[in-house]
Amino acid sequence: MKFIKNHLMFILPLMAILLGIEFYLVFDRTTNSYEKGLKEGYSMLVVTKKPMKLSMFQALNRHISSSEKIKRENIVSEIAKGVSKNSNKEILAALPYFYNVRLDSYLSTSGLEKIKTDLEKDKNVKKVETFGSSYSSSYRLFSFIKFTLKLFIVFMGVVSLFLIIKQMEIWKYAHKERMQVMEIFGAPLMLRSGVLFRVAIVDAFLATLLTTAIFLYIKFQWAANSGIDIMMQNKTELFKMTDIAILLVSALFIVIIAVYSVVFSSKGVEE
């Protein structure tokens, strides 16, 4: 019973850290595609007097990654139904040119305003519509959620680390006597601390296994049946098999650091 409790006291905080790491990985992956979607779905509308090429836009601001001319014929045919072919041409000649302009990165509202003023410096440009408000509100909400989650994960990690160190001190106390006797008889460090390393490494594997199980459950049971679109679409992003390696390496790293700290602080038999 005490044995199980001792292990749980070590495995649970370790799992908390691993869950944090995995949540971070998953969040980063799913939101990367979401962020990409936001970015790619976004374009500004630029109205010009004369036709302009992409390079001309890019000369005005380097964040512009593509420009697409909107077919004026479609606009004209919509507004000039039943008008004669000749007047149709006149309307067409009087109309300015419309462009959908896309950006190379996700910019803040002030970044968008900068592009707007840059573009308007050109005499040719009649009007720029950034659609800034709807763009920035989803962007801000997104950034806020991302920041809060990261903060939470870091906080959880720190608390867990303290719990692990606490548990390590209990271990140290439990193993101190044996390690000191072995030291007096000339046992090398690795032999003295062998049991600690074995226990810690077994716990690292267990914690990794449990964390993996939780995420596999989320991936194949919960997410698949959740009815949440973003979850179901990003199912493959939820847990990748390579994550097991990342988690295991992290867990081993943490426990080895923890064991070393115990081993070195119980050095010396001088009372």
């Binding site: 006597e177 044996r178 006797v181 072995m182 007096i184 008889f185 000339g186 046992a187 090398p188 032999l191």
Partner: protein, 224 residues
């Protein structure tokens, strides 16, 4: 014959030098000698042994054991030296979560002997100290005197070059004490082991020549 132990103007102290226990002691002990150390309680007998196995560094002077200057020896050299010592502690220092047999063969385990060798040796040694039937028990299931004999068996298990024994018969009746003295005499006589024994009572029947040191008022004196 060469000196196994050489102390020159040795001073030992606790609390960072503030609490002097032994001051300016000089003595040498040769290979194969048998030495009894006596002295009043609290005079520093255990402290001297502690210094001899390198757990208390000299505050002043030099202490050379097996050719190593313990004032300046590095961790790995000290580790090596300790594998050649057979130490018996006043408070036994057994590992309570290990069986008696496992405790006895700790030095063999550290030296990397196979489990087979360890098992045979454990049986042989426990027979010597009359504890064969307790091999699979744990130290806390034994009496004080029995635990003490486990400590003796452990110290002898790898035929050490030097035995450092702190009151090895402190908890034993005359019969058991004589068993222990016989074992030590044999080691000294047959394997040329150097033996230092702290005791409050030098055995009346003792067949080997021996030296006798007294520790008193911070000094180490030899009785002739």
């Amino acid at each position: 014959m060469s000196n196994v132990i050489n102390a020159q103007h040795l001073t030992l102290a606790y609390d960072g030098g503030a609490k002097e226990i032994i001051k300016d002691a000089s003595f040498t002990i040769k290979k194969g000698e048998f030495v009894f150390i006596t002295g009043p309680s609290g005079s520093g007998k255990s402290t001297l042994l502690k210094a001899l196995y390198g757990a208390l560094k000299p505050t002043e002077g030099s202490l050379v054991v097996g050719g190593l200057d313990l004032a300046s020896v590095g961790q790995s050299k000290l580790q090596e030296l300790r594998t050649h010592l057979g130490i018996i502690f006043q408070d036994y220092k057994l590992v309570n979560e290990w069986s008696v047999a496992k405790n006895v063969v700790l030095p063999l385990m550290i030296a990397g002997y196979s489990v087979d060798v360890q098992n045979t040796q454990a049986q042989r040694l426990l027979k010597h100290v009359k504890l064969s039937e307790h091999a699979d028990k744990y130290p806390l299931e034994l009496s004080g005197g029995e635990q003490q004999r486990v400590g003796v068996a452990r110290a002898l298990s790898k035929n050490p070059v030097v035995i450092l024994a702190d009151e090895p018969t402190g908890n034993l009746d005359d019969y058991s004490s004589n068993v222990i003295w016989d074992l030590m005499e044999n080691a000294c006589q047959q394997l040329d082991t150097t033996v230092l024994v702290v005791t409050h009572k030098i055995p009346t029947i003792f067949s080997l020549p021996y030296r006798h040191f007294i520790i008193e008022s911070k000094g180490v004196y030899e009785v002739h």
